[in-house]
């Protein structure tokens, strides 16, 4: 166990990496939820051009590698004269990529609420937006919790893409420490545990929420 004390010397690198991973994930989570909501609304829109934009967005960003998308923001944009930090490039790439998956989860959730719910609420004189707000979305939210939980966990793990563009995240710290200490196994196992520190509470939280919301149905 001498190896772990060796790692202790690099405490600051791990703390910085951990905080970078955490903040990139949180930022990307908020952004991808916003993107997902907007794109899902586009896909469900009766307005054809909007539906089209939504579909193209989802199919393009869901079906191309995250690494390429992040490369574009980290290196492609600067080559066009638009400078952007590695952290921002990583967070934006993650948001755009995850947003496509979240949009699909939202769309499926909204569509799985029975058609009769919209008919009943519209019949009572409520507008489309009132029906969405009070009747459809609260029910869709319950259905969407498990797939949304998956997306959150994937998002945290996918944030390791920052390491490739020198984004200073946990995996980046691990690469740096292991190449200096040659303690390859110890370093990466330790970092994997640090990822679990973020993802496990997230998983438990989602399960708890799911059970609490399921109480009445």
């Amino acid at each position: 166990m001498g190896s772990f004390s060796l790692l202790a010397a690099y405490k600051q690198e791990f703390i910085d990496g951990f905080l970078t991973t955490l903040s990139a994930s949180l930022l990307a989570l908020v952004l991808s939820l916003a993107i997902g909501t907007i794109i899902a609304c586009c896909r469900l829109s009766q307005v054809k051009p909007l539906e089209w934009i939504g579909t193209v967005y989802v199919e393009f960003f869901r079906n191309t590698p995250l690494v390429i998308q992040v490369f574009f923001f980290a290196m492609g944009l600067p080559s066009l004269g638009w400078n952007i930090s590695e952290f921002s490039a990583g967070a934006i790439g993650l948001s755009i990529y995850t947003g496509a998956f979240i949009a699909e989860a939202f769309r499926a959730g909204i569509q799985s609420v029975s058609k009769g719910q919209m008919e009943a609420s519209r019949s009572s004189g409520m507008t489309y937006f009132q029906s969405m707000r009070y009747i459809i979305l609260p029910q869709a939210f319950k259905i969407v919790i498990p797939p949304l939980g998956n997306q959150c966990v994937n998002l945290v793990k996918n944030s390791s893409v920052l390491a490739i563009i020198a984004g200073g995240d946990l995996l980046y710290a691990a690469d740096a420490v292991s190449s200096q200490t040659f303690e390859i196994n110890m370093t990466y196992i330790f970092v994997a545990l640090l990822y679990l520190v973020i993802t496990l509470p997230l998983s438990f939280g989602v399960n708890l929420l799911e059970r609490r919301l399921a109480r009445h149905s």
Partner: protein, 242 residues
């Protein structure tokens, strides 16, 4: 109050409603019967524009439904609808199901809307179920909450789309009783149903539809005793035999 003039409706190539002419007056109880796929439900759903008519003229409460500028949300406030599968909001209690539209659409304050909702629950005979969620209610109770939900908007017209078809036989009576009371209070009602006993007893007028057309309309006594059309006689002999 409700007037169809030469209304046609198509689903793609298929014509669901053929040359419908029908006038329903205030306070009338009209029961529509006929085989599955005859267009009864579609006709009913045109009245609050859950379905738009393709051709002809339809006016309800002096609103021309074929006018694209017609204020449909306003129109629907005065028309309650009860569905075959209840369509209660599963995430809301019985009381909330009833008070939601009055609060959101009519801007009635929470306390008042809740009190009124409780009165409607009493009216349909289940005041004790105020805080129950739909999943905790029987089919008959759910449908009674759905009727109360429709009434809470104080509508001028109530539409019933096969309100007892999804119910256990034991629970049909309790729903029909509520509808019978409503008819006696003078509510304008349009009811699509297979309950011939209800039609005979409560209806002012019975309408028989087949293949998208109104084949026959008459008072219930005449309709059931002396059906004019051969198709009506065949239909009645099948549904009344058992």
């Amino acid at each position: 109050m409700i007037q169809f003039e030469q209304v046609n409706k198509f689903f793609g190539e298929f014509q669901v409603l053929k040359n419908i002419n029908l006038t329903i007056r205030s306070g009338e109880v009209v029961v529509i019967i006929g085989p599955s796929g005859s267009g009864k439900s579609t006709l009913l759903r045109c009245i609050n524009r859950l379905e738009a008519v393709s051709e002809g003229k339809l006016s309800v409460n002096d609103t021309d439904l074929t006018d694209p500028r017609a204020n449909i949300n306003r129109l629907r406030q005065d028309i309650g609808m009860v569905f075959q599968h209840f369509n209660l909001y599963p995430h809301k209690t019985a009381l909330e199901n009833i008070s939601l539209a009055p609060r959101q659409v009519r801007n009635i304050p929470l306390a008042e809307a809740t009190e009124q909702a409780q009165q409607y629950l009493t009216k349909v005979g289940i005041p004790e179920k105020a805080s129950a969620y739909p999943a905790q209610l029987s089919g008959g109770q759910q449908q009674r909450v759905a009727i109360a939900r429709g009434l809470a908007m104080k509508p001028k017209i109530m539409l019933f789309d096969e309100p007892t078809s999804a119910l256990d036989p034991e629970m049909i009576g309790e729903v029909l009783d509520v509808m019978r009371d409503l008819a006696q209070e003078g509510m304008t009602m349009v009811v699509v149903t297979h309950e011939m006993g209800f039609a005979r007893e409560v209806a002012d007028r019975v309408i028989f539809m087949d293949e998208g057309m109104i084949l026959e309309e008459n008072s219930p006594a005449e309709f059931f005793q002396n059906p004019k059309e051969e198709r009506t006689r065949r239909f009645l002999s099948r549904v009344l035999k058992h």
